[in-house]
Amino acid sequence: MDLNEIRKLIELMDANKLVEFEYEEEGRKIRLRRWEDRHAVAPSAGAASAPAAPVPVLSPPVAGGATADVPPPTRSADLVDFKSPLVGTFYRAPKPDAEPFVNVGDEVSAEKVLCIIEAMKVMNEIKAEMNGVVREILVKNGQAVEYGEPLFLIEKR
Protein backbone atom coordinates (compact mmCIF):
# COMPACT_ATOMS: atom_id res chain seq x y z
CA MET A 1 0.00 0.00 0.00
CA ASP A 2 1.43 3.33 -1.07
CA LEU A 3 0.49 5.83 1.63
CA ASN A 4 1.66 8.73 -0.49
CA GLU A 5 -0.65 7.77 -3.29
CA ILE A 6 -3.51 7.51 -0.84
CA ARG A 7 -2.67 10.88 0.62
CA LYS A 8 -2.75 12.37 -2.87
CA LEU A 9 -6.09 10.73 -3.51
CA ILE A 10 -7.49 12.23 -0.33
CA GLU A 11 -6.22 15.65 -1.32
CA LEU A 12 -7.85 15.24 -4.68
CA MET A 13 -11.09 14.21 -3.07
CA ASP A 14 -10.96 17.11 -0.71
CA ALA A 15 -10.15 19.69 -3.37
CA ASN A 16 -12.99 18.42 -5.52
CA LYS A 17 -15.61 17.67 -2.91
CA LEU A 18 -15.59 13.97 -3.65
CA VAL A 19 -17.18 11.91 -0.95
CA GLU A 20 -16.55 8.47 -2.31
CA PHE A 21 -13.79 6.85 -4.29
CA GLU A 22 -13.43 3.25 -5.27
CA TYR A 23 -10.84 1.67 -7.51
CA GLU A 24 -10.05 -1.90 -8.38
CA GLU A 25 -7.35 -3.34 -10.61
CA GLU A 26 -5.72 -6.75 -10.77
CA GLY A 27 -6.87 -7.87 -7.37
CA ARG A 28 -5.94 -4.51 -5.85
CA LYS A 29 -8.85 -2.58 -4.47
CA ILE A 30 -9.16 0.75 -2.71
CA ARG A 31 -12.22 2.44 -1.33
CA LEU A 32 -12.37 5.82 0.37
CA ARG A 33 -15.39 7.55 1.79
CA ARG A 34 -15.49 11.00 3.31
CA TRP A 35 -17.82 12.53 5.80
CA GLU A 36 -20.75 14.09 4.02
CA ASP A 37 -21.38 17.67 4.91
CA ARG A 38 -24.96 18.74 5.09
CA HIS A 39 -24.68 22.48 5.42
CA ALA A 40 -24.18 22.92 1.79
CA VAL A 41 -24.87 25.13 -1.13
CA ALA A 42 -27.16 24.45 -4.02
CA PRO A 43 -25.53 23.87 -7.39
CA SER A 44 -25.54 27.09 -9.34
CA ALA A 45 -27.96 27.36 -12.19
CA GLY A 46 -25.33 28.08 -14.86
CA ALA A 47 -25.47 25.75 -17.84
CA ALA A 48 -22.68 23.20 -17.83
CA SER A 49 -20.55 22.15 -20.80
CA ALA A 50 -18.35 23.98 -23.25
CA PRO A 51 -19.08 27.10 -25.27
CA ALA A 52 -20.41 26.07 -28.65
CA ALA A 53 -18.63 28.03 -31.32
CA PRO A 54 -21.15 28.62 -34.07
CA VAL A 55 -19.49 28.38 -37.44
CA PRO A 56 -20.33 30.97 -40.01
CA VAL A 57 -20.82 29.06 -43.21
CA LEU A 58 -21.65 31.42 -45.98
CA SER A 59 -20.89 31.95 -49.58
CA PRO A 60 -21.09 35.71 -49.52
CA PRO A 61 -22.10 37.10 -52.90
CA VAL A 62 -24.83 34.57 -53.50
CA ALA A 63 -27.87 34.60 -51.27
CA GLY A 64 -27.27 31.18 -49.75
CA GLY A 65 -30.02 28.62 -50.21
CA ALA A 66 -30.82 26.43 -47.26
CA THR A 67 -27.56 24.68 -46.51
CA ALA A 68 -29.58 21.99 -44.78
CA ASP A 69 -26.93 20.58 -42.53
CA VAL A 70 -29.62 19.38 -40.16
CA PRO A 71 -31.12 16.28 -41.79
CA PRO A 72 -34.82 15.74 -41.19
CA PRO A 73 -35.28 13.50 -38.19
CA THR A 74 -37.40 10.97 -40.06
CA ARG A 75 -34.83 10.45 -42.76
CA SER A 76 -33.87 6.86 -43.37
CA ALA A 77 -30.41 5.49 -42.87
CA ASP A 78 -29.97 5.03 -46.62
CA LEU A 79 -30.29 8.72 -47.33
CA VAL A 80 -26.86 10.29 -47.60
CA ASP A 81 -25.62 13.81 -48.08
CA PHE A 82 -23.55 14.07 -51.21
CA LYS A 83 -21.01 16.71 -50.24
CA SER A 84 -19.02 19.07 -52.38
CA PRO A 85 -15.40 17.97 -52.77
CA LEU A 86 -14.39 21.51 -53.81
CA VAL A 87 -14.98 25.18 -53.20
CA GLY A 88 -16.51 26.77 -56.24
CA THR A 89 -19.65 27.48 -58.19
CA PHE A 90 -22.27 24.78 -58.57
CA TYR A 91 -23.84 24.11 -61.98
CA ARG A 92 -26.58 21.59 -62.62
CA ALA A 93 -26.03 21.47 -66.37
CA PRO A 94 -23.04 21.39 -68.73
CA LYS A 95 -24.18 24.60 -70.45
CA PRO A 96 -26.57 27.42 -69.50
CA ASP A 97 -29.40 26.15 -71.67
CA ALA A 98 -28.70 22.43 -71.49
CA GLU A 99 -30.71 19.88 -69.55
CA PRO A 100 -29.57 19.32 -65.94
CA PHE A 101 -27.30 16.35 -65.37
CA VAL A 102 -29.82 14.96 -62.89
CA ASN A 103 -33.27 15.70 -61.56
CA VAL A 104 -35.02 14.60 -58.39
CA GLY A 105 -36.07 10.97 -58.79
CA ASP A 106 -33.29 10.06 -61.23
CA GLU A 107 -31.41 6.87 -60.68
CA VAL A 108 -27.67 7.38 -60.66
CA SER A 109 -24.69 5.06 -60.85
CA ALA A 110 -21.11 5.52 -59.69
CA GLU A 111 -19.89 7.03 -62.96
CA LYS A 112 -22.89 9.33 -63.45
CA VAL A 113 -22.00 13.03 -63.47
CA LEU A 114 -24.18 14.89 -60.95
CA CYS A 115 -23.04 18.45 -61.48
CA ILE A 116 -20.16 20.73 -62.30
CA ILE A 117 -18.18 22.69 -59.74
CA GLU A 118 -16.33 25.56 -61.35
CA ALA A 119 -13.13 26.30 -59.49
CA MET A 120 -10.55 28.71 -60.91
CA LYS A 121 -12.24 28.74 -64.34
CA VAL A 122 -11.97 24.94 -64.47
CA MET A 123 -15.22 23.02 -64.86
CA ASN A 124 -14.93 19.95 -62.63
CA GLU A 125 -17.40 17.19 -63.37
CA ILE A 126 -18.51 15.63 -60.12
CA LYS A 127 -19.51 11.97 -60.26
CA ALA A 128 -21.96 10.17 -57.99
CA GLU A 129 -19.51 7.45 -56.90
CA MET A 130 -22.42 5.36 -55.67
CA ASN A 131 -25.64 3.82 -56.92
CA GLY A 132 -28.87 5.39 -55.81
CA VAL A 133 -31.72 7.78 -56.42
CA VAL A 134 -31.53 11.56 -56.20
CA ARG A 135 -34.03 12.56 -53.53
CA GLU A 136 -33.29 16.25 -53.19
CA ILE A 137 -31.11 18.93 -54.75
CA LEU A 138 -29.89 21.13 -51.95
CA VAL A 139 -28.25 24.05 -53.74
CA LYS A 140 -29.31 26.28 -56.56
CA ASN A 141 -27.77 26.49 -59.98
CA GLY A 142 -24.98 29.07 -60.01
CA GLN A 143 -24.66 29.07 -56.25
CA ALA A 144 -21.26 29.24 -54.56
CA VAL A 145 -20.55 26.19 -52.46
CA GLU A 146 -17.84 25.46 -49.96
CA TYR A 147 -15.92 22.28 -49.28
CA GLY A 148 -18.09 19.71 -47.57
CA GLU A 149 -21.34 21.49 -48.30
CA PRO A 150 -24.17 19.03 -48.99
CA LEU A 151 -25.25 19.24 -52.66
CA PHE A 152 -27.65 16.34 -53.07
CA LEU A 153 -29.63 13.99 -50.89
CA ILE A 154 -29.20 10.53 -52.38
CA GLU A 155 -30.94 7.37 -51.38
CA LYS A 156 -28.36 4.64 -51.63
CA ARG A 157 -29.13 1.35 -53.33
Binding site: V55, L86, V87, A144
Partner: protein
Protein backbone atom coordinates in the same frame (compact mmCIF):
# COMPACT_ATOMS: atom_id res chain seq x y z
CA UNK B 1 -8.28 50.67 -50.52
CA UNK B 2 -9.52 47.15 -51.13
CA UNK B 3 -13.13 46.40 -50.44
CA UNK B 4 -12.71 42.73 -49.50
CA UNK B 5 -9.65 40.70 -48.52
CA UNK B 6 -9.29 36.95 -48.21
CA UNK B 7 -7.01 35.63 -45.47
CA UNK B 8 -5.19 32.57 -46.78
CA UNK B 9 -4.06 31.35 -43.40
CA UNK B 10 -5.25 30.10 -40.01
CA UNK B 11 -4.64 30.51 -36.29
CA UNK B 12 -3.28 33.61 -34.64
CA UNK B 13 -2.02 35.22 -37.85
CA UNK B 14 -5.43 34.81 -39.50
CA UNK B 15 -6.93 36.56 -36.49
CA UNK B 16 -4.21 39.22 -36.65
CA UNK B 17 -5.07 39.97 -40.28
CA UNK B 18 -8.82 39.94 -39.57
CA UNK B 19 -8.21 42.53 -36.86
CA UNK B 20 -6.22 44.72 -39.24
CA UNK B 21 -8.95 44.51 -41.89
CA UNK B 22 -11.63 45.43 -39.36
CA UNK B 23 -9.64 48.43 -38.23
CA UNK B 24 -9.21 49.49 -41.83
CA UNK B 25 -12.90 49.03 -42.52
CA UNK B 26 -12.26 46.37 -45.17
CA UNK B 27 -14.46 43.29 -45.43
CA UNK B 28 -12.65 40.09 -44.66
CA UNK B 29 -13.13 36.52 -45.81
CA UNK B 30 -11.65 33.69 -43.77
CA UNK B 31 -11.00 30.27 -45.23
CA UNK B 32 -10.73 27.19 -43.06
CA UNK B 33 -10.10 23.50 -43.16
CA UNK B 34 -12.47 21.04 -41.55
CA UNK B 35 -10.06 20.77 -38.62
CA UNK B 36 -10.50 24.48 -37.95
CA UNK B 37 -14.27 24.47 -38.31
CA UNK B 38 -14.76 25.66 -34.73
CA UNK B 39 -11.94 28.20 -34.66
CA UNK B 40 -13.33 31.25 -32.85
CA UNK B 41 -11.79 33.85 -35.17
CA UNK B 42 -14.01 32.63 -38.02
CA UNK B 43 -16.92 34.37 -36.30
CA UNK B 44 -15.07 37.66 -36.54
CA UNK B 45 -14.66 37.48 -40.31
CA UNK B 46 -17.43 38.81 -42.51
CA UNK B 47 -17.50 35.50 -44.35
CA UNK B 48 -15.93 32.11 -43.73
CA UNK B 49 -15.50 29.42 -46.35
CA UNK B 50 -14.50 25.82 -45.80
CA UNK B 51 -11.88 24.91 -48.39
CA UNK B 52 -10.93 21.35 -47.60
CA UNK B 53 -10.03 18.67 -45.10
CA UNK B 54 -7.53 19.02 -42.24
CA UNK B 55 -4.22 18.24 -43.95
CA UNK B 56 -2.69 21.52 -45.13
CA UNK B 57 -1.81 20.03 -48.51
CA UNK B 58 -5.54 19.74 -49.18
CA UNK B 59 -6.54 23.09 -47.73
CA UNK B 60 -4.18 25.90 -46.73
CA UNK B 61 -1.47 24.80 -49.17
CA UNK B 62 -3.83 24.09 -52.07
CA UNK B 63 -3.58 27.08 -54.39
CA UNK B 64 -6.59 26.17 -56.49
CA UNK B 65 -8.89 25.74 -53.50
CA UNK B 66 -7.84 29.08 -52.06
CA UNK B 67 -8.20 30.93 -55.32
CA UNK B 68 -11.49 29.24 -55.99
CA UNK B 69 -12.71 30.53 -52.63
CA UNK B 70 -11.34 33.97 -53.50
CA UNK B 71 -13.28 34.00 -56.75
CA UNK B 72 -16.46 32.72 -55.19
CA UNK B 73 -16.15 35.38 -52.47
CA UNK B 74 -15.25 38.03 -55.01
CA UNK B 75 -12.29 39.46 -53.09
CA UNK B 76 -9.83 41.94 -54.51
CA UNK B 77 -6.82 40.91 -52.45
CA UNK B 78 -5.34 37.96 -50.57
CA UNK B 79 -3.20 38.20 -47.46
CA UNK B 80 -1.07 35.07 -47.13
CA UNK B 81 0.13 35.54 -43.52
CA UNK B 82 3.31 33.58 -42.82
CA UNK B 83 4.10 29.97 -43.65
CA UNK B 84 1.85 28.00 -46.03
CA UNK B 85 1.83 29.95 -49.33
CA UNK B 86 3.32 33.21 -48.05
CA UNK B 87 6.66 32.84 -49.80
CA UNK B 88 5.52 30.83 -52.78
CA UNK B 89 6.09 33.06 -55.83
CA UNK B 90 3.94 30.77 -57.96
CA UNK B 91 0.97 31.52 -55.70
CA UNK B 92 1.61 35.23 -56.08
CA UNK B 93 1.70 34.78 -59.85
CA UNK B 94 -1.56 32.88 -59.93
CA UNK B 95 -3.16 35.62 -57.83
CA UNK B 96 -1.88 38.17 -60.32
CA UNK B 97 -3.27 36.21 -63.24
CA UNK B 98 -6.66 36.10 -61.52
CA UNK B 99 -6.58 39.86 -61.01
CA UNK B 100 -6.38 39.44 -57.26
CA UNK B 101 -3.77 41.51 -55.48
CA UNK B 102 -1.29 39.43 -53.51
CA UNK B 103 -0.46 41.33 -50.30
CA UNK B 104 3.29 40.95 -50.40
CA UNK B 105 6.18 41.57 -52.76
CA UNK B 106 6.08 40.84 -56.47
CA UNK B 107 6.96 37.21 -57.36
CA UNK B 108 10.30 38.27 -58.85
CA UNK B 109 11.33 39.99 -55.64
CA UNK B 110 10.33 36.92 -53.60
CA UNK B 111 12.45 34.75 -55.89
CA UNK B 112 15.40 37.10 -55.57
CA UNK B 113 15.08 37.40 -51.79
CA UNK B 114 14.14 33.82 -51.02
CA UNK B 115 16.85 31.92 -52.89
CA UNK B 116 19.83 31.88 -50.54
CA UNK B 117 22.51 31.79 -53.22
CA UNK B 118 20.83 34.43 -55.39
CA UNK B 119 20.28 36.65 -52.38
CA UNK B 120 23.87 36.29 -51.27
CA UNK B 121 25.07 37.05 -54.76
CA UNK B 122 22.97 40.24 -54.90
CA UNK B 123 24.16 41.26 -51.44
CA UNK B 124 27.81 40.86 -52.52
CA UNK B 125 27.20 42.99 -55.58
CA UNK B 126 25.66 45.64 -53.31
CA UNK B 127 28.72 45.41 -51.02
CA UNK B 128 26.61 44.18 -48.11
CA UNK B 129 28.72 41.94 -45.87
CA UNK B 130 27.90 38.26 -46.26
CA UNK B 131 29.45 35.20 -44.69
CA UNK B 132 32.61 34.47 -46.73
CA UNK B 133 32.46 31.15 -48.54
CA UNK B 134 32.74 29.19 -51.74
CA UNK B 135 29.80 31.00 -53.35
CA UNK B 136 29.19 27.92 -55.49
CA UNK B 137 29.23 24.18 -55.06
CA UNK B 138 32.66 22.79 -54.25
CA UNK B 139 33.39 19.69 -56.38
CA UNK B 140 36.20 18.01 -54.46
CA UNK B 141 38.24 18.08 -51.28
CA UNK B 142 41.22 19.79 -52.93
CA UNK B 143 39.12 22.83 -53.83
CA UNK B 144 37.49 22.65 -50.41
CA UNK B 145 40.92 23.00 -48.83
CA UNK B 146 41.66 25.99 -51.07
CA UNK B 147 38.46 27.72 -50.01
CA UNK B 148 38.99 26.92 -46.33
CA UNK B 149 42.51 28.35 -46.40
CA UNK B 150 41.24 31.49 -48.10
CA UNK B 151 38.36 32.19 -45.68
CA UNK B 152 40.00 30.71 -42.60
CA UNK B 153 38.85 28.04 -40.12
CA UNK B 154 36.42 27.11 -38.73
CA UNK B 155 34.29 26.48 -41.80
CA UNK B 156 30.84 24.97 -42.19
CA UNK B 157 29.98 22.51 -44.96
CA UNK B 158 26.40 22.85 -46.17
CA UNK B 159 24.36 20.78 -48.60
CA UNK B 160 23.09 22.95 -51.47
CA UNK B 161 19.82 21.05 -51.42
CA UNK B 162 19.48 21.02 -47.65
CA UNK B 163 17.81 23.40 -45.27
CA UNK B 164 16.69 23.87 -41.73
CA UNK B 165 20.08 22.90 -40.36
CA UNK B 166 20.12 19.42 -41.92
CA UNK B 167 23.37 18.04 -43.36
CA UNK B 168 25.66 20.72 -41.91
CA UNK B 169 29.14 19.91 -40.65
CA UNK B 170 31.80 22.04 -39.05
CA UNK B 171 35.55 21.64 -39.69
CA UNK B 172 38.26 23.27 -37.58
CA UNK B 173 41.34 22.15 -39.57
CA UNK B 174 42.47 20.49 -42.80
CA UNK B 175 42.11 16.94 -41.55
CA UNK B 176 38.58 17.32 -40.26
CA UNK B 177 37.69 19.28 -43.39
CA UNK B 178 38.63 16.44 -45.74
CA UNK B 179 36.81 13.84 -43.64
CA UNK B 180 33.71 15.93 -43.18
CA UNK B 181 33.64 17.07 -46.78
CA UNK B 182 33.49 13.54 -48.15
CA UNK B 183 30.95 12.47 -45.54
CA UNK B 184 28.81 15.52 -46.26
CA UNK B 185 28.81 14.82 -49.99
CA UNK B 186 27.75 11.21 -49.44
CA UNK B 187 25.09 12.23 -46.95
CA UNK B 188 23.75 15.01 -49.17
CA UNK B 189 23.51 12.66 -52.11
CA UNK B 190 21.57 10.18 -50.06
CA UNK B 191 19.32 12.65 -48.26
CA UNK B 192 18.59 15.28 -50.89
CA UNK B 193 19.43 13.43 -54.14
CA UNK B 194 21.94 16.18 -54.73
CA UNK B 195 25.52 15.67 -53.64
CA UNK B 196 26.49 19.35 -54.10
CA UNK B 197 27.96 20.92 -51.00
CA UNK B 198 29.40 24.36 -50.42
CA UNK B 199 31.60 25.97 -47.80
CA UNK B 200 31.08 28.97 -45.59
CA UNK B 201 33.02 30.57 -42.82
CA UNK B 202 31.56 29.30 -39.56
CA UNK B 203 30.52 32.33 -37.55
CA UNK B 204 31.18 31.46 -33.94
CA UNK B 205 28.72 32.33 -31.19
CA UNK B 206 26.60 34.48 -33.48
CA UNK B 207 23.45 36.37 -32.59
CA UNK B 208 20.51 36.32 -34.94
CA UNK B 209 19.45 39.91 -35.59
CA UNK B 210 16.98 40.95 -38.25
CA UNK B 211 15.91 44.29 -39.67
CA UNK B 212 12.25 44.97 -40.43
CA UNK B 213 11.62 47.04 -43.53
CA UNK B 214 8.57 48.53 -45.21
CA UNK B 215 8.69 49.49 -48.87
CA UNK B 216 5.87 50.93 -50.93
CA UNK B 217 5.30 50.28 -54.62
CA UNK B 218 6.52 53.75 -55.49
CA UNK B 219 10.04 52.97 -54.30
CA UNK B 220 9.96 54.56 -50.82
CA UNK B 221 11.55 52.51 -48.07
CA UNK B 222 12.03 52.70 -44.32
CA UNK B 223 13.48 50.30 -41.81
CA UNK B 224 11.94 49.87 -38.38
CA UNK B 225 14.99 48.82 -36.43
CA UNK B 226 15.94 45.34 -35.41
CA UNK B 227 14.61 42.29 -33.67
CA UNK B 228 16.97 40.01 -31.79
CA UNK B 229 15.93 36.39 -32.30
CA UNK B 230 18.97 34.68 -30.87
CA UNK B 231 16.99 32.47 -28.50
CA UNK B 232 16.26 29.55 -30.79
CA UNK B 233 15.73 25.84 -30.41
CA UNK B 234 16.74 23.92 -33.53
CA UNK B 235 16.32 26.99 -35.75
CA UNK B 236 12.93 27.72 -34.23
CA UNK B 237 12.69 31.07 -32.53
CA UNK B 238 11.41 31.03 -28.97
CA UNK B 239 11.93 34.56 -27.71
CA UNK B 240 12.37 37.75 -29.70
CA UNK B 241 13.09 41.25 -28.53
CA UNK B 242 13.54 44.75 -29.84
CA UNK B 243 15.85 46.55 -29.52
CA UNK B 244 18.64 43.98 -29.45
CA UNK B 245 20.65 44.12 -26.22
CA UNK B 246 23.84 44.38 -28.27
CA UNK B 247 22.67 47.14 -30.58
CA UNK B 248 24.29 50.55 -30.84
CA UNK B 249 22.97 53.52 -32.77
CA UNK B 250 25.86 53.18 -35.20
CA UNK B 251 25.39 49.47 -35.82
CA UNK B 252 21.63 49.95 -36.24
CA UNK B 253 22.23 52.57 -38.87
CA UNK B 254 24.72 50.36 -40.74
CA UNK B 255 22.50 47.29 -40.63
CA UNK B 256 19.40 49.33 -41.44
CA UNK B 257 21.11 50.81 -44.46
CA UNK B 258 22.27 47.37 -45.58
CA UNK B 259 18.70 46.07 -45.34
CA UNK B 260 17.35 49.04 -47.28
CA UNK B 261 20.04 48.64 -49.93
CA UNK B 262 19.20 44.99 -50.36
CA UNK B 263 15.47 45.65 -50.57
CA UNK B 264 16.07 48.36 -53.16
CA UNK B 265 18.35 46.07 -55.14
CA UNK B 266 15.77 43.28 -55.08
CA UNK B 267 13.02 45.73 -56.17
CA UNK B 268 11.26 44.69 -53.01
CA UNK B 269 7.94 46.09 -51.86
CA UNK B 270 5.66 45.48 -48.86
CA UNK B 271 6.91 44.27 -45.46
CA UNK B 272 10.06 42.20 -45.32
CA UNK B 273 12.88 41.22 -43.03
CA UNK B 274 16.61 41.01 -43.67
CA UNK B 275 18.27 38.41 -41.48
CA UNK B 276 21.81 38.84 -40.27
CA UNK B 277 24.28 37.02 -38.09
CA UNK B 278 26.21 39.29 -35.76
CA UNK B 279 29.44 37.91 -34.35
CA UNK B 280 31.01 38.54 -30.98
CA UNK B 281 32.83 41.63 -32.20
CA UNK B 282 29.68 43.23 -33.61
CA UNK B 283 30.48 42.38 -37.23
CA UNK B 284 27.32 41.53 -39.18
CA UNK B 285 26.70 39.21 -42.11
CA UNK B 286 23.63 39.26 -44.33
CA UNK B 287 21.97 35.84 -44.59
CA UNK B 288 18.68 36.16 -46.42
CA UNK B 289 15.52 38.17 -46.73
CA UNK B 290 12.14 36.87 -45.58
CA UNK B 291 9.46 38.13 -47.91
CA UNK B 292 6.48 37.99 -45.54
CA UNK B 293 5.15 39.27 -42.26
CA UNK B 294 6.95 37.41 -39.50
CA UNK B 295 5.66 35.68 -36.41
CA UNK B 296 7.64 38.08 -34.24
CA UNK B 297 6.40 41.29 -35.90
CA UNK B 298 4.58 42.47 -32.74
CA UNK B 299 7.80 43.41 -30.94
CA UNK B 300 8.54 45.90 -33.70
CA UNK B 301 4.96 47.16 -33.56
CA UNK B 302 5.24 47.76 -29.83
CA UNK B 303 8.48 49.76 -29.92
CA UNK B 304 7.71 51.72 -33.10
CA UNK B 305 3.93 52.13 -32.70
CA UNK B 306 3.54 51.12 -36.36
CA UNK B 307 0.86 48.54 -37.25
CA UNK B 308 2.79 46.41 -39.74
CA UNK B 309 -0.15 44.41 -41.02
CA UNK B 310 -2.20 47.51 -41.71
CA UNK B 311 0.84 48.98 -43.49
CA UNK B 312 1.12 45.81 -45.61
CA UNK B 313 -2.45 46.20 -46.74
CA UNK B 314 -2.10 49.93 -47.43
CA UNK B 315 1.04 49.33 -49.47
CA UNK B 316 -0.59 46.54 -51.50
CA UNK B 317 -3.52 48.88 -52.16
CA UNK B 318 -1.06 51.23 -53.81
CA UNK B 319 -0.81 53.80 -51.03
CA UNK B 320 2.42 55.66 -50.48
CA UNK B 321 4.27 55.10 -47.21
CA UNK B 322 3.27 57.84 -44.81
CA UNK B 323 6.36 57.18 -42.71
CA UNK B 324 9.77 58.67 -43.28
CA UNK B 325 12.89 57.24 -41.72
CA UNK B 326 13.06 60.20 -39.39
CA UNK B 327 9.59 59.42 -38.00
CA UNK B 328 10.74 56.06 -36.70
CA UNK B 329 12.23 55.66 -33.28
CA UNK B 330 12.29 52.70 -30.92
CA UNK B 331 10.59 53.46 -27.62
CA UNK B 332 11.21 51.17 -24.69
CA UNK B 333 11.81 47.44 -24.97
CA UNK B 334 9.44 44.76 -26.25
CA UNK B 335 9.87 41.02 -25.75
CA UNK B 336 7.80 38.22 -27.23
CA UNK B 337 7.53 34.65 -25.98
CA UNK B 338 6.00 32.08 -28.31
CA UNK B 339 3.74 29.83 -26.32
CA UNK B 340 3.60 26.45 -28.01
CA UNK B 341 1.46 23.47 -27.14
CA UNK B 342 4.52 21.30 -26.66
CA UNK B 343 5.84 19.23 -23.85
CA UNK B 344 9.22 20.60 -22.76
CA UNK B 345 9.74 17.46 -20.67
CA UNK B 346 9.19 15.22 -23.63
CA UNK B 347 11.49 16.53 -26.34
CA UNK B 348 9.15 19.42 -27.20
CA UNK B 349 6.72 17.06 -28.83
CA UNK B 350 3.62 18.88 -30.03
CA UNK B 351 0.77 18.40 -27.62
CA UNK B 352 -2.53 18.74 -29.48
CA UNK B 353 -5.77 18.34 -27.58
CA UNK B 354 -8.45 20.23 -25.76
CA UNK B 355 -7.54 23.28 -23.73
CA UNK B 356 -9.64 22.91 -20.61
CA UNK B 357 -8.64 26.16 -18.96
CA UNK B 358 -7.11 29.25 -20.52
CA UNK B 359 -6.51 32.40 -18.52
CA UNK B 360 -4.30 34.83 -20.39
CA UNK B 361 -2.27 37.48 -18.60
CA UNK B 362 -3.14 41.16 -18.92
CA UNK B 363 -2.51 44.51 -17.32
CA UNK B 364 -0.01 47.22 -18.15
CA UNK B 365 2.43 46.61 -20.97
CA UNK B 366 1.01 43.23 -21.93
CA UNK B 367 -0.19 42.30 -25.39
CA UNK B 368 -1.49 38.89 -26.27
CA UNK B 369 -2.08 37.51 -29.74
CA UNK B 370 -3.94 34.26 -29.56
CA UNK B 371 -6.73 32.45 -31.34
CA UNK B 372 -7.45 29.99 -28.52
CA UNK B 373 -9.65 30.03 -25.43
CA UNK B 374 -10.97 27.61 -22.84
CA UNK B 375 -12.60 24.74 -24.70
CA UNK B 376 -10.53 25.17 -27.87
CA UNK B 377 -9.13 21.98 -29.38
CA UNK B 378 -5.59 22.34 -30.74
CA UNK B 379 -5.64 20.39 -34.03
CA UNK B 380 -2.82 18.00 -34.74
CA UNK B 381 -2.38 19.10 -38.36
CA UNK B 382 -0.65 22.42 -37.90
CA UNK B 383 2.12 24.04 -35.95
CA UNK B 384 1.85 24.04 -32.22
CA UNK B 385 1.92 27.76 -31.44
CA UNK B 386 -1.15 28.73 -29.41
CA UNK B 387 -0.26 32.25 -28.28
CA UNK B 388 2.25 35.04 -28.53
CA UNK B 389 2.80 36.91 -25.32
CA UNK B 390 4.38 40.32 -25.80
CA UNK B 391 5.40 42.80 -23.12
CA UNK B 392 6.43 46.38 -23.67
CA UNK B 393 8.14 48.36 -20.94
CA UNK B 394 10.44 51.34 -20.66
CA UNK B 395 13.64 49.36 -20.05
CA UNK B 396 14.83 45.81 -20.68
CA UNK B 397 14.98 45.12 -16.93
CA UNK B 398 11.37 46.19 -16.54
CA UNK B 399 10.37 44.18 -19.60
CA UNK B 400 12.01 41.07 -18.17
CA UNK B 401 10.16 41.26 -14.85
CA UNK B 402 6.92 42.11 -16.62
CA UNK B 403 7.35 39.05 -18.85
CA UNK B 404 8.02 36.87 -15.83
CA UNK B 405 4.94 38.04 -14.01
CA UNK B 406 2.85 37.68 -17.17
CA UNK B 407 4.11 34.14 -17.79
CA UNK B 408 3.52 33.22 -14.18
CA UNK B 409 -0.13 34.28 -14.35
CA UNK B 410 -0.69 32.51 -17.68
CA UNK B 411 -2.83 29.43 -17.03
CA UNK B 412 -3.22 26.79 -19.71
CA UNK B 413 -4.66 23.41 -18.76
CA UNK B 414 -5.38 20.40 -20.90
CA UNK B 415 -2.25 20.68 -23.05
CA UNK B 416 1.35 21.13 -22.02
CA UNK B 417 3.06 24.32 -23.09
CA UNK B 418 6.46 25.95 -23.33
CA UNK B 419 5.61 28.40 -20.51
CA UNK B 420 7.90 26.62 -18.00
CA UNK B 421 10.77 26.74 -20.51
CA UNK B 422 10.27 30.46 -21.01
CA UNK B 423 10.27 31.02 -17.26
CA UNK B 424 13.51 29.06 -16.99
CA UNK B 425 15.13 31.07 -19.77
CA UNK B 426 14.06 34.32 -18.11
CA UNK B 427 15.78 33.18 -14.94
CA UNK B 428 19.05 32.39 -16.68
CA UNK B 429 21.85 34.83 -15.89
CA UNK B 430 23.23 34.76 -19.44
CA UNK B 431 19.87 35.69 -20.87
CA UNK B 432 19.22 38.36 -18.25
CA UNK B 433 22.58 39.91 -19.10
CA UNK B 434 21.86 39.71 -22.82
CA UNK B 435 24.94 37.52 -23.29
CA UNK B 436 23.65 34.76 -25.48
CA UNK B 437 24.30 33.27 -28.89
CA UNK B 438 22.21 31.00 -31.10
CA UNK B 439 23.58 27.96 -29.26
CA UNK B 440 22.19 29.14 -25.91
CA UNK B 441 19.22 26.76 -25.71
CA UNK B 442 21.19 23.76 -26.90
CA UNK B 443 23.94 24.54 -24.42
CA UNK B 444 21.82 25.12 -21.35
CA UNK B 445 18.42 23.60 -21.95
CA UNK B 446 18.93 20.33 -23.79
CA UNK B 447 18.76 17.24 -21.64
Amino acid sequence: MFSRILVANRGEIALRIIRACKELGVEVVAVYSEADRHAPYLKLADYAICIGPGPASKSYLDISRILSAAEVADVDAIHPGYGFLAENPHFAEVCQSCNIKFIGPAPEATRQAGDKLKAKDLARRLRIPTVPGSDDAVPDEKQALDVARRIGYPVIIKAAGGGGGRGMRIAHNDVSLVNNFLAAQAEAGAAFKNASVYLEKYVEKPRHVEIQILADEQGNLVHLGERDCTIQRRFQKLIEESPSPIMTAGLRKEMGNAALAFAKGAKYSNAGTCEFLVDERGKFYFIEMNSRIQVEHPVTEMVTGVDLVKEQIRIAAGERLRLRQGDISLNGVAIECRINAEDPNNGFKPCPGKITSFVAPGGPGVRIDTHVHAGYVVPSFYDSMIAKLIVHRRTRDEALVAMKRALSEFTVEGVRTTIPLHLAILDHTQYIRGQVDTGFIDTYFSK
